[in-house]
């Protein structure tokens, strides 16, 4: 059991005075695991820590039974795709894979074989003679996944992989991750709720360095059931309602605005509706006392 999961206990990390992670205890099992949170919530810090790029200040982390302090072994069993993937500008796609393969400790035969297989898997075979810097954002991200898989890792860590991708690329990328996750742990961080909904079974929510939620996606959605309402309101009412309710979205049609809001108690004149994971996420943030009225902007 421990051999196939990441176990974190009371993990702390601070940069000088700023506490980036506080008392994080989390267990991540095989499959896709989503890490949700706003920008600056501590997601990247957590992921870099798991990729051994940052040191924790306190607590314990074991990855597939290996303590995080054993960086050499950890790096052998993890693959990491940072938020922005880049490679030496003069390298071509194939060369970059080969070089990173060398750095992953693969011998020549393995390197060639895996490079070929992985580039095919991420659909970059045709681009292998292109310069890395000439790739589009989506292609670059796919190359990033391919390089992270070079060492055939037990754990794949991907930080905000879909940010900045167009919808088509984003869907393709999600599917790729799901495919990969069948035989390993894939830890995915994002601030785009839709990514989690489409791919993950388990999710954790981070806010200001603290763990707000850890559990299944369906349980999270369930929490919000009976607390999501829609209502058509007059435009003039909006400023007042914005103060009273946690509004997650607004659609303006003519003089009326259709709002979607979260509330622990029924809202007069509003209609109850089926919660999405986004609602549930917002509710969690709302309950934690986070300033959320900036989030549910006009869409």
């Amino acid at each position: 059991m421990n051999q196939t999961s990441i176990v974190m206990e009371h993990v702390e990390k601070s940069y000088g005075r700023k506490q980036a992670l506080q008392d994080i205890s989390l267990t991540i099992e095989q499959g896709m695991f989503g890490l949700l949170g706003r920008n600056g919530a501590g997601k990247t810090t957590l992921m870099k820590m798991l990729a051994t790029l940052l040191r924790k200040n306190a607590g314990q982390i074991r990855v597939c039974g290996v303590p995080i302090e054993d960086t050499k072994e950890i790096r052998r069993i993890t693959g990491y795709l940072p938020q922005e993937f880049s490679m030496y500008p003069s390298m071509r796609v194939g060369e970059a894979m080969q070089y990173l393969g060398v750095l992953s400790g693969l011998n020549g035969k393995e390197r060639a074989e895996r490079t070929r297989r992985l580039l095919a898997k991420v659909n970059l075979t045709e681009q292998q003679h292109k310069k890395v810097r000439a790739l589009s954002g989506g292609m670059k991200r796919r190359l990033g996944i391919a390089q992270a898989l070079l060492g055939d890792p037990k754990v794949l860590i991907v930080d905000e992989p879909t940010a900045g991708l167009d919808p088509e690329e984003r869907i393709r990328f999600r599917n790729l991750l799901c495919e990969v996750a069948q035989e390993r742990i894939v830890l995915l961080s994002t601030h785009i709720v839709g990514d989690i909904e489409a791919t993950c079974e388990n999710v954790a929510i981070l806010n200001e360095g603290r763990l707000l939620y850890n559990g299944t996606v369906s349980a999270l959605t369930g929490e919000a059931s009976g607390k999501v309402f829609t209502r058509a309101v007059d435009k003039r009412e909006l400023p007042r309602l914005k103060k009273e309710l946690c509004i997650t979205s607004m659609h303006t049609q003519g003089g009326k605005t259709q709002i979607r809001c979260l509330s622990e108690v029924p809202v007069s004149g509003a209609q109850l509706c089926e919660p999405t994971i986004e609602d549930a996420y917002m509710l969690r943030l709302y309950r934690s006392g986070a300033q959320v009225d900036g989030l549910g902007g006009e869409q």
Binding site: E84, P89, S90, R133
Partner: protein
């Protein structure tokens, strides 16, 4: 405001800290931050006023011939092509040509002269223990051997009676070309052989020039400029602008900056102004610090209290401008620190070439004009036109480069130009050409 933000970025950088240290260390190490012990004294009759180089044929001709003949016999000619000592050895064909030149000047046949070749200590009075001695300053002095034979030989190499100065100069120029240039036989340097003592009248006139034209303080500010340009201002500002431009790249700011509304021209020129300001403010301060040390030395004289400012801006600023502009242009063009190599090399070659005109070198393309003396105000007056042209040229060139930087930046903003790719392609093309030419 954009300007103050950029200025803050420059000033609070490691590069600026190192620049500031160098800016102070250089004048301190050269002893020009405190001039209080270097008063320019009014000459009094009956003193020794030192020597000067003068185009005096009667002195130059025997001295130059003497040196050349000695070099010929040893086949070892001293030149300074970029300021560095170069010892030239001629092959037999060229040595023969040299013999012809000497022959035309002395009346001896080339064969006779060639026979003296390599006869250190036996032929012409060279290298004999009693004849040649090396002086402390590296020069040679020759005392002719007193015995009859050597005397006769010494007499053998001397000027023909009929040689006039124009012809002599001509021959020397040929000799200079023969050894590859950069020798003291070159026409513009021939006067170095004409060492004559300064007379009281000349010394007094020199003093008067310094008093009237420089009002004393100018002379000190000029010497300070000389050192500061050579050591700091002609080269170090390049690092500041390279650091500033590369900083954006490292901080991944390009994407953000490119989309901002501020026009490329405004951004680049503001940035440039920030670098210039950051360099010039402490520079002007140092100019004044150094100059202040002499304000008490000349009671009753009319001093020019603006001299430090004039020299800092007029003499110093154009070099700062060009070196910062080179930094900005090449960094934006290539996204590499290649500007450091370019400016570094230019500076290196320039200061070495400048070594040959220490007493006032104002050639048009001199990056660091020289005037390594508190005296010789006359040279400054004579060369002023050339100096002004030089400084204006560099300032204009700098502004042109900054304008070119704006163009490059604008193209990058529109996604048309990608520094690294461009320079990569250039080198790839170069390599390709090399391969072709090798084939």
């Amino acid at each position: 405001m954009l300007f103050f933000r950029e200025l803050k970025k420059v000033v609070f950088s490691v590069a600026f800290a190192i620049f500031a240290v160098a800016l102070v260390a250089m004048p301190v190490s050269q002893d020009v931050l405190d001039f209080s012990d270097r008063k320019i004294e009014q000459p009094q009759p009956g003193q020794d006023y030192g020597v000067q180089n003068k185009e005096a044929p009667e002195v130059i001709m025997p001295a130059a011939l003497d040196t050349l003949a000695r070099a010929f016999c040893q086949n070892s000619y001293v030149t300074y092509p970029i300021g560095f000592y170069k010892n030239v050895k001629l092959d037999s064909a060229k040595q023969r040509e040299m013999a012809d030149i000497l022959s035309a000047l002395t009346g001896l046949s080339a064969e006779e002269l060639l026979a003296l070749n390599g006869q250190d200590g036996q032929g012409y009075a060279i290298g004999t223990d009693d004849g040649l001695s090396v002086q402390q300053d590296g020069g040679f002095s020759v005392t002719m051997p007193s015995d009859a034979q050597a005397g006769a030989q010494a007499g053998r190499i001397s000027l023909k009676e009929s040689v006039d100065y124009a012809f002599f100069k001509d021959c020397m120029e040929r000799a200079d070309r023969l050894v590859g240039g950069g020798s003291d036989y070159a026409p513009e340097k021939l006067a170095r052989f004409g060492v004559v003592p300064l007379t009281y009248e000349e010394a007094a006139a020199q003093y008067e020039r310094t008093k009237q034209t420089d009002h004393f303080t100018g002379a000190y500010a000029r010497l300070f400029s000389d050192y500061l340009l050579v050591g700091v201002l002609s080269v170090l500002p390049v690092f500041l602008s390279v650091a500033l431009c590369l900083r954006d790249k490292r901080a991944r700011m390009n994407g953000l900056l490119y989309t901002r509304r501020a026009s490329s021209a405004r951004l680049i020129f503001t940035r440039y102004a920030a670098v210039l300001t950051a360099v010039m403010l402490p520079t002007i301060l140092l100019f004044y610090l150094s100059n202040l040390s002499v304000w008490g030395l000349y009671p009753g004289e009319a001093l020019d209290y603006l001299a430090p400012l004039k020299y800092a801006l007029g003499w110093g600023l154009p070099s700062v401008m060009i070196s910062s502009a080179v930094g900005m242009f090449f960094t934006e063009l290539t996204d590499t620190p290649i500007a450091v190599a370019i400016q570094g090399l230019w500076w290196f070659v320039d200061i070495n070439l400048g070594l040959t005109e220490m007493q006032g070198g104002y050639s048009l393309f001199r990056l660091s004009p020289r005037h390594n003396s508190l005296r010789h105000t006359q040279n400054f007056i004579d060369g002023f036109g050339s100096l002004a042209a030089n400084r204006i040229l560099f300032a204009a060139l700098a502004l042109l480069l900054v304008a070119a930087t704006v163009l490059v930046y604008e193209q990058k903003r529109r996604g048309r130009l990608d520094g690294y790719g461009k320079c990569k392609r250039f080198f790839a093309g170069l390599a390709h050409r090399k391969e072709q030419s090798a084939a």
